[in-house]
Amino acid sequence: MNLLDIRNLKLDFGTGADVMRAVDGISFTIGAGETVCLVGESGCGKTVTALSIARLVPAPPANYVGGEILLNGRDVLKMSNGELRSIRGGVVSYVFQEPGASLNPVFRVGNQIRESLKLHKPDKATNAEVIRLLKLVGIPAPESRIRNYPFELSGGMQQRVMIAMALASEPKLLVADEPTTALDVTIQAQILELLHGLKQRLGMAILLITHNLGIVGDMADRVAVMYAGQIVELAPAKDLLRRPLHPYTKALMNAVPKLAGDADRLSAIPGNVPRIGNFPPGCRFAPRCPIAKSECSEKIPELVEVEPGRWVRCPFWQQTTKPV
C-alpha cells in the first residue's frame, strides 16, 4: 500500500456559473520514503493539490468535487474534523514558501515549535526537545535561538525553524511547497541538502513542489509535471530529465538557460498559461504547442503509460519537436 494515493482528484472554486476547476483529475502516488516532485508554472494547481492532501483548502470557496485522497489507506475527503486535525502534523506536515509569513510574528520561535509538539507529542513538549529539533535542522546556538522572535532570524533560519516545526510531530510525509523560492541560491542549496539529509535519517516521504527543474534532478525519485490543473507527464526523475516526452515538458526544459553555447536570447514558451475557468477545449497545451494538430483542440487526451513507469498525456509524444 502506498503512503499517499491520490485518485482522480477534482476540485472547484466557486459555484454555479462562476465555477472554476483548479484541479482536474489528478492521480499520483507516493510510497513510504519516496521523494516526488510536483512541477509546473504558477497557477497550474500545484499548491492546491498539495494542500488538498490534508484538506487544507478552505471549503467554501473550494469544493472537493470528486476523487479520493488515500493517506495510509484512509480517505482524507471523508474524515471528520477531529481526524483531520490528528493527521495534520501527525501524518503529513507542511513547509511553505514564505518562511517569514509562516511564523506568527508575535511569538518566540521556541513556543511555536512547542505548539506542534503539544498537539502531537504532548509528553515531549519540553525545551530540551525543541533544542534537539533546532539542532537537527542545523541552527547554531539553539539554546539562545528559542527565545528569538521570527523577525530576528534570517530567511534561511526562519525556514529551518519551519522545518523543525514540521518535523516535531515525526510525520510520514513532508509537503514542501516551494520551500526555497523566497531564499537566495546559497541558502536554497543548504535547505535542500538539509531536507535530503533529514529524509534519509528519518525515512519520511517528501512531496516537493517547485517550478525549478534544477531542484528536481537533485532531489526527486519521481516527477509529476502539471499544466492547467492536470498532470501531463509522470515519470522517474532521471528519465524525465534525460528524455522528456510531453511537448510541454520539452518546452519547459528548453526554457532553462544554459551556460554552454552562445545563445543570446532566453527561450520561452510562447503564449500564456490559460486562466482557470477559461481552459481551451481539448488539450489544454494545444494553443502553445509546437506540434499541435487540429484534433488536439477537440478531445482532452488521456494520461497513458507509454513505457513502464512513464505516463504522458499526449498521443503524439513520439514526434520530435524542434526547439523553439
Binding site: 502534523g89 514564505e98 509562516s102 508575535v106 547554531p140
Partner: protein, 354 residues
C-alpha cells in the same frame, strides 16, 4: 558557540517610543498615582466614607498650615447663620502622620486603624476638600469613590473587550453565515441608544440592591453595550489576519479553530486593542457617573464620583459650596489622563511614526 547581541523585543521598542511622548507619560503617571491612592484609600483618607457629623454640614475646606516646625490644623466654630464657620484664632492642633483613627480594612481584608495623617481629635477636623451636607469629609469620600469609579473602567473593559474579541474573532474566522448572524446582532445592539437601554435595564432590577450588586450590574450593563463595537473591529482585523500564512501553518499542524483564533489571531490585534482599551476606559467611568448622577447607580452612603456629584445638581449648593464639585475635577483629570495615555500608546504602536 556564537554569541549574538539580543535585539530589542517588540515591547522594548514600543516602550522606547512611548517614553519619548511626555504628555502620554504624564497621563500614565497621573493614572498610576490615582490607582495607587484608590488601592490604599482607607489608609490615605483621614475619615471613613460614611463618617458623618451634622455639626460640620457644608464645612469649608480646612488646610493645615506651618507653625514653627509643625503642621497645625486650625479650628472653626459655628458662626451666626446656618453652615457658616468662623476661624477661631490661636486655637490649633498639630497634624500627625501615621495616626490611629477609624477602622478600615486593607484591600477589604486586613483590619487596620492607622491613617496617613490626621489630628486625632474630632474638634479639629482636617477637611482638605470641605464637607458635604452631612458633614462627611469630601476628600475621604473622593478616595473611597475612586475605588468604585476607577475600577469600573478596568473591569468593564476587561469584560467587554474579552467578550468582544472572542466574538469578533469567531465571526471573522468562520465568516459566512456565522459572521452574518453575529454582525447583525452587533448592529442591533449598537443601534439602541445606550442611555435609554441602561435606564430601562436598571428599572427591571429591584430597587433595594446592595452596593456590590449595583456595582456588578453597572459593569454588566455597560459591557453588554460595549462589546459590539469591539467585536466589529476585531472581526475586520480577523478577516485580514486569517488569510496570513501563519494561520495556514497553524491549521497545517492540526491546531483547532478556537485555539487558532485565541493563540494566533487575537494576539496580533493586541497593539490595536491596548490603545482602544485605554481610550475606552473613560466611557465606563462616565457611564457609572451618569447612572449614579441620575440616582440609579451606586447608592448612598457608599461613595462614587457620580453620586457625589448628585449634590452638585442644586445650584444653591454650587454657588455657596463649590468644593462639592471636586469629584467633577477628579473625573476631568482621570478622563484627560486616559486620553493622553491612549493617544501616546497609539502613536507608539504605530510603527510608521518616528
Amino acid at each position: 558557540m556564537v554569541e549574538t547581541k539580543n535585539p530589542l523585543s517588540p515591547w522594548q521598542l514600543f516602550w522606547q517610543r512611548l517614553r519619548r511622548r511626555k504628555i502620554a507619560m504624564a497621563g500614565g503617571g497621573i493614572l498610576i498615582v490615582l490607582y495607587l491612592v484608590a488601592l490604599f484609600a482607607g489608609f490615605v483618607a483621614p475619615y471613613r466614607y460614611d463618617d458623618l457629623d451634622t455639626d460640620y454640614s457644608f464645612h469649608q475646606p480646612v488646610w493645615p498650615r506651618v507653625e514653627g516646625l509643625h503642621l497645625v490644623v486650625p479650628r472653626y466654630a459655628p458662626g451666626n447663620g446656618t453652615f457658616v464657620y468662623q476661624l477661631v484664632p490661636n486655637d490649633t492642633k498639630p497634624l500627625h502622620l501615621f495616626i490611629r483613627g477609624d477602622r478600615y480594612k486593607w484591600f477589604g481584608l486586613i483590619p487596620a486603624t492607622i491613617h496617613l495623617f490626621g489630628t486625632g481629635d474630632r474638634n479639629y477636623p482636617v477637611f482638605l476638600l470641605g464637607a458635604d451636607q452631612f458633614g462627611r469629609d469630601v476628600f475621604s469620600r473622593l478616595l473611597y469613590g475612586s475605588q468604585i469609579s476607577l475600577s469600573i473602567g478596568l473591569v468593564g473593559i476587561l469584560l467587554s473587550f474579552s467578550f468582544g474579541m472572542i466574538i469578533g474573532g469567531v465571526s471573522g474566522y468562520f465568516a459566512g453565515a456565522t459572521d452574518t448572524v453575529i454582525m447583525r446582532l452587533c448592529e442591533l445592539i449598537m443601534s439602541i441608544p445606550a442611555l435609554y437601554l441602561i435606564i430601562s435595564l436598571r428599572a427591571t432590577f429591584p430597587p433595594g440592591m446592595s452596593s456590590s450588586q449595583v456595582y456588578t450590574m453597572i459593569i454588566v450593563i455597560l459591557s453588554f453595550i460595549g462589546w459590539a463595537g469591539m467585536a466589529r473591529v476585531i472581526r475586520g482585523m480577523t478577516l485580514s489576519l486569517r488569510e496570513q500564512q501563519f494561520v495556514l501553518a497553524a491549521r497545517a499542524i492540526g491546531q483547532s479553530p478556537l485555539k487558532i483564533i485565541v493563540r494566533h489571531i487575537l494576539p496580533n490585534t493586541f497593539s490595536y486593542v491596548i490603545v482602544a482599551a485605554t481610550l475606552s476606559v473613560p466611557y465606563y467611568i462616565l457611564g457609572e457617573v451618569v447612572l449614579s448622577f441620575l440616582g440609579v447607580g451606586i447608592q448612598e452612603p457608599n461613595a462614587s464620583w457620580g453620586n457625589m456629584l448628585t449634590a452638585a445638581q442644586n445650584t444653591d449648593y454650587l454657588r455657596n459650596y463649590p468644593w462639592l464639585l471636586a469629584p467633577g475635577v477628579a473625573i476631568f483629570i482621570t478622563v484627560l489622563a486616559f486620553n493622553f495615555l491612549g493617544d501616546g500608546l497609539r502613536d507608539a504602536a504605530d510603527t510608521k511614526s518616528l
